[in-house]
């Protein structure tokens, strides 16, 4: 089958903050850039980020990047790569100032500088008093950033392919990445985009879990494309459960609520975080707070008819502060609960939120894979940034405010490296004639007619299994059951049939392709989780309650072809400063 072709210097898949930050840098450097996104760019999930972006600006309290680095390493439960973390924390202030120059409407202090709020896991002076490091545009920071980045890209005349779905990457026989096959959702026409460099910026996979804070589009598309291209996924067992999703519904209630002075209470009206984190209390790291809530609920101190959640109180802050600092939260709570947070507490529970693992990269955004038994090597032409990537700055647990930072810093870092790469690789490599075949086969499969299972059915079952078998607290037995069930479910994928074969804006087919992606990412997640026999960050095992740095201070790598997990060392050496060695983690 003959497919239309287009050539660009760089193909960026995903138009959230990471993809758009990279695109802006590349367009400004006169590279010929294509951004492919399955939704119009401003609908990408970056839009939903609320609380803010971390940078040691010291606008409110003393701060420096080295303290930020310490907090991030500690927050990661020492699984983060310290060279990447140093790079990110050093680059953070510049990344935020750039945003301000792009037009982001940050909230302001009286002296006109950017407003910064307290967030969880932040400290001054390497574990001292609470820091105020999170730069905020009210509680709509992601929206403000995404809009400004898109606007700047319009100015820079970046070439957008809106509502195009990426099917598969194209690789030649030497292992060079040459672009991707994408589909125009509006009419199902295929396009082969040849590119000297390809950046995956496709975001996370929150739809793995039934109750999640994520948009319906967060289906791990880039991660699954990487898996199918023979690239392993790193640290997939680490999935963040945000402490405060609206109970039973999942909408995110920003950590900013606690940053502004809100706190959690159990059924007895007790401020229980005091027992779990005597110093930081409600502003301990997310893994700590989520476990505390789950423990309160398990021990019978949950609230409500089913005793399945706790309450987040802000009414003591006064209506003015609440409405001014947290307008988006107020809107959301009014809409979904019919209450005003300034008057009544918000029912919350730990909710699947963020994929810490992903496509392994170095701090230049290059995708790196292990060679047989030797060292790692970049996949030529392939980059990844943001939630789909694992660089790894978040390790076993991400700090609030570090995800927006991650996409900005590493979107830009990848673009920097791409500019250099383009200087040295001036011409497109020839695309093999069979390069598009895997993508075509993938699509042809969904043309099968007849009776079968439905996409909706399997997707619902998958999310249920993941929630029950790979949640906040884990055991060997439960996860083995989960792996068996997901494996069986993935075996049933062959029986799924579409009834809608229309060429016009076929969302049923898109959902089928997304389900394939989710299934691969689910297998990676539960297989990696089962293998890791310790508790670290977001991966809490009842049967292995301690962190084990002797055996498990290492990254996992899940391979799709063999469905096996192997490991690589953590990069504990920063770029210029001393390493932060693993210590007991108390907040």
């Amino acid at each position: 089958m003959e497919i239309a072709r287009r050539r660009f210097d760089t193909l960026i898949i995903g138009a959230g903050g990471g993809g758009l930050r990279a695109a802006l840098h590349l367009s400004s450097a006169d590279a010929h850039v294509a951004v492919v996104s399955k939704v119009f760019p401003t609908r990408s999930h970056t839009v939903a980020a609320q609380g803010g972006v971390n940078a040691a600006l010291a606008n409110v309290r003393p701060d420096n990047w080295h303290w930020h680095m310490f907090d991030t390493v500690k927050g990661s439960d020492y699984l983060g790569d310290q060279d990447a973390i140093e790079y990110m924390c050093r680059a953070a202030p510049q990344a935020v100032y750039e945003l301000e120059h792009f037009g982001v409407p940050f909230s302001r202090l009286d002296d006109g500088r950017i407003y910064q709020r307290q967030f969880g896991g932040q400290s001054m002076n390497f574990g001292g008093e609470q820091a105020a490091r999170t730069c905020a545009a009210a509680d709509r920071t992601g929206h403000a950033i995404l809009q400004s980045l898109y606007q700047q890209n319009i100015r820079a005349r970046t070439h957008f392919f809106d509502e195009y779905f990426a099917i598969d990457l194209i690789k030649d026989h030497e292992g060079y990445l040459l672009g991707a096959v994408v589909m125009n959702i509006a009419n199902s026409e295929l396009l082969l985009i040849e590119a000297k460099t390809t950046l995956l910026a496709t975001g996370g996979a929150g739809q793995l879990f039934r109750t999640n804070t994520n948009a319906l589009i967060n289906t791990g598309d880039g991660m699954a494309m990487a898996l199918r291209a023979g690239i392993p996924l790193q640290d997939m067992e680490f999935f963040q459960f945000h402490p405060t999703g609206i109970a039973g519904k999942g909408m995110l209630i920003s950590e900013a609520v606690r940053g502004e002075g809100g706190y959690l209470v159990n059924a007895d009206g007790e401020r229980f975080m005091e027992h779990y984190a005597p110093n930081a209390k409600d502003l301990a790291s997310r893994d700590v707070v989520s476990r505390a809530i789950a423990t309160e609920v398990r021990e019978g101190r949950g609230c409500g008819e089913h005793r399945d959640h706790v309450l987040l109180k802000v009414d003591h802050l006064g209506a003015e502060t609440v409405h001014q600092r947290l307008p988006g939260i107020c809107d959301m709570v009014r809409t979904f609960l019919g209450t005003d947070p300034a008057e009544s507490p918000i029912p919350v529970a730990p909710t699947a939120h963020y994929t810490m693992g992903g496509i392994p990269t170095n701090r230049f955004g290059q995708v790196i894979v292990p060679l047989q038994h030797g060292p790692e090597e970049p996949v030529p032409g392939l980059y990844a940034a943001g939630e789909c990537a694992c660089v790894s700055v978040h390790g076993a647990n991400r700090l609030g405010g570090n995800s927006l930072l991650d996409i900005l810093v590493f979107g830009r870092a990848a673009a920097n490296h791409i500019v250099d790469y383009l200087h040295e690789n001036r011409y497109h490599k020839p695309c093999p004639t069979d390069g598009a075949d895997p993508a075509l086969a993938r699509l042809a499969r969904w043309e099968q007619q007849g009776d079968g299972e439905t996409v909706d059915h399997l997707r619902t079952e998958l999310a249920q299994i993941m929630e029950e078998n790979c949640g906040v607290f884990r055991t060997e037995e439960v996860m083995q059951d989960g792996l068996d069930k997901v494996t069986a479910l993935s075996g049933r994928m062959g029986d799924v049939r579409l009834t809608d074969h229309s060429k016009i804006f076929n969302t049923a087919r898109i959902e089928a392709l997304e389900l394939e992606n989710l299934m691969d990412v689910a297998l990676a997640t539960v297989a990696s989780a089962l293998q890791r026999k310790e508790s670290r960050g977001a991966h809490s095992r009842i049967d292995y309650p301690e962190r084990d740095d002797v055996q498990w201070l290492r990254h996992s790598l899940y391979h799709r072809d063999t469905r096996t997990v192997d490991y690589k060392p953590v990069r504990t050496r920063p770029i210029t400063v001393d390493s932060f060695p693993p210590k007991e983690r108390v907040y």
């Binding site: 401003t42 100032y97 120059h101 792009f102 709509r140 929206h143 606007q151 439905t454 016009i504």
Partner: protein, 233 residues
């Protein structure tokens, strides 16, 4: 619960038609939003097509016409809707399929107002200062999610979609005119001159009525007009 949903697939249908669809009472739970219902209806018939993403009113994907009024399906409570709930695509734009409209014209209007900050000074090493009062001028403007509910509710937009910029784009224009950091006031105003781009707004205020974020494009348009008058004196 009964629904009446606009269906049209140009691949197979000669003309659009309203289709009756129904959910069992036990599928309808308290607090459910219209989007939840549409997702359940799509589980019955996967060919039902609509855009959706965040499910909480921040991405702007699922603007549609609900019982005659534009809104976001994900933050429209089912309990408040008269049945059968009539769901149609946003009016005034070409329908691609079912509830999906072609938004290209809407996006063109957005791009036409140069919706980015223009500041001609050398870039400082740190942030540009802005007082909380100056920043407060942007409240009610920067929150726009480009859902197109307002522009497609506007008769002036229906009549002159190629000449009038519509409430969403004009709200964006004012968002930058109102920004103390922006230095392109003259160019922005010059760009809006003429009888159509701005002045086709007849303050019908449908835009204010339907905005799911509670924004007020009519007021923004009024402010642009005031500024234009002030500048010309």
């Amino acid at each position: 619960m009964k629904f009446s949903i606009y269906r049209y697939n140009p691949d197979t249908d000669t003309a659009p038609a309203m289709q009756a669809m129904e959910l069992d009472d036990n599928q309808v739970t308290p607090g459910m939003m219209l989007l939840d219902a549409l997702l359940l209806l799509k589980a019955q018939d996967e060919s039902l097509s609509f855009r959706r993403s965040c499910g909480e009113g921040v991405c702007g994907s699922d603007g549609m016409n609900i019982n005659g009024r534009n809104g976001l399906a994900c933050i429209t409570p089912l309990a408040a809707l008269k049945t059968p709930v009539a769901v149609r695509p946003l009016p005034g734009l070409p329908v691609v399929r079912d509830l999906i409209v072609d938004l290209e014209q809407f996006y063109q209007q957005y791009r036409a107002v140069n919706p980015w900050l223009i500041n001609k000074d050398p870039v400082p090493e740190v942030e540009r200062r802005q007082t909380p009062e100056q920043r407060a001028q942007l409240d009610g403007l920067y929150e726009c999610i480009l859902c197109a509910c307002c522009s497609t509710a506007c008769p002036s937009f229906w009549w002159n979609p190629d000449k009038f910029l519509g409430p969403a784009a004009l709200l964006q224009s004012w968002r930058f005119l109102a920004d103390s950091r922006d230095q392109a006031t003259d160019e922005r105003l010059a760009n809006l001159e003429g009888p159509f781009k701005l002045f086709r707004c007849h303050t019908i205020m449908n835009c204010v009525e339907v905005c799911p974020k509670g924004l007020n494009p009519t007021r923004a348009i009024g402010r642009i007009k005031e500024l234009m008058v002030k500048r010309s004196m």
